[in-house]
Amino acid sequence: MTEENANIRKIMHVMRRAPHGTIYTYEGLEMILIMAAYEQDLSVAFIGDGVYALKKDQQTEGIGIKGFSRTFMALDGYDVEKLYVDEASLAERGLSEEDLLVDVEIMDSGAIGRLMNEQDVVIHH
C-alpha cells in the first residue's frame, strides 16, 4: 500500500433483500450515498433477493411507497462504480443482466466471497 492511499479503506455494502417489504435496502442505499462523499474504496454486492433491487420497471404506486430503484442509477455519478451481482442469485430468480437498471459485474459466488475477504469493512443491508 502506498502512502497516498494508506487511509483509504475498502468498504463493501451487501444488498441481500428484496427492495420492498422492509426498509433495509432503502436505508442501505442512503448509507452508500453518504459514504460515497468520503472518497473511500466503495463497492456494492447484490446477492440473494438483493438482486431484485436492481430490477428494471419497478412499480411501487400499488404499495404506496415512493420508488427508489432509479437512485441506483445515480451511484455512478457518486463514483460508486464497483457493483457486483451474484450469478447464481440472478439465475435462480429467472433474471439476466438485461433485466438490470445499471451496468454491473456478474460474478460467481466464490469470486464475490474472495472480494469480501479483501475488504476492510463489510456492511450488510
Binding site: 487511509n7 479503506r9 468498504i11 426498509i23 433495509y24 436505508e27 442512503e30 448509507m31 453518504i34 459514504m35 462523499a37 468520503y38 473511500q40 476492510d120 469493512v121 463489510v122 456492511i123 450488510h124
Partner: protein
C-alpha cells in the same frame, strides 16, 4: 484492538442488541477498546429513555447508557433513521447522541474493526 459497533435492530424484538451488548462487554474485558456504537435502522430505538420495560426484565436502553458512560464511548443514533422513528434529542439516554452517517464512515475508517449486529 479498537472496535466500532454497528447495531441495526431495536431492543426486545430482536437478539442483535443483546448480542452486541454482550460482545462489547466481553471485548472490553479482554482489553479491547470500544470506540463507538452506531445505531441504524430500528437500532436507533436503543437510546430512547421513554423505554420502560417490566421491572423483572433487562433495561436495554439504560444498560447501553451505563456501559457507554463507564467506558467512555458514545452510543450514536443516525439522524435520518431517528427522525423516521420519532427519536430526537429530547428523549435520549445519557451517553448517547444523534449524528449523521458521516460519523459512521469515520468510525469505519479509524478503527481496526467495524462489527455489525442485526439481520
Amino acid at each position: 484492538m479498537n472496535i466500532g459497533i454497528l447495531l441495526k435492530e431495536g431492543p426486545y424484538n430482536h437478539q442483535a442488541s443483546d448480542t452486541a451488548y454482550n460482545f462489547a462487554e466481553a471485548a472490553i474485558a479482554r482489553g479491547h477498546r470500544i470506540d463507538a456504537v452506531f445505531l441504524y435502522n430500528d437500532g436507533v430505538t436503543n437510546v430512547s429513555r421513554l423505554s420502560d420495560p417490566p421491572q423483572d426484565d433487562r433495561h436495554v436502553a439504560n444498560r447501553w447508557s451505563e456501559l457507554a458512560e463507564k467506558h467512555g464511548f458514545k452510543v450514536l443514533a443516525c439522524i435520518a433513521a431517528s427522525k423516521r422513528r420519532g427519536i430526537n434529542d429530547d428523549i435520549l439516554t445519557k451517553g448517547s447522541e444523534i449524528t449523521g452517517l458521516g460519523t459512521l464512515t469515520d468510525i469505519a475508517i479509524r478503527n481496526d474493526r467495524l462489527v455489525t449486529f442485526g439481520d
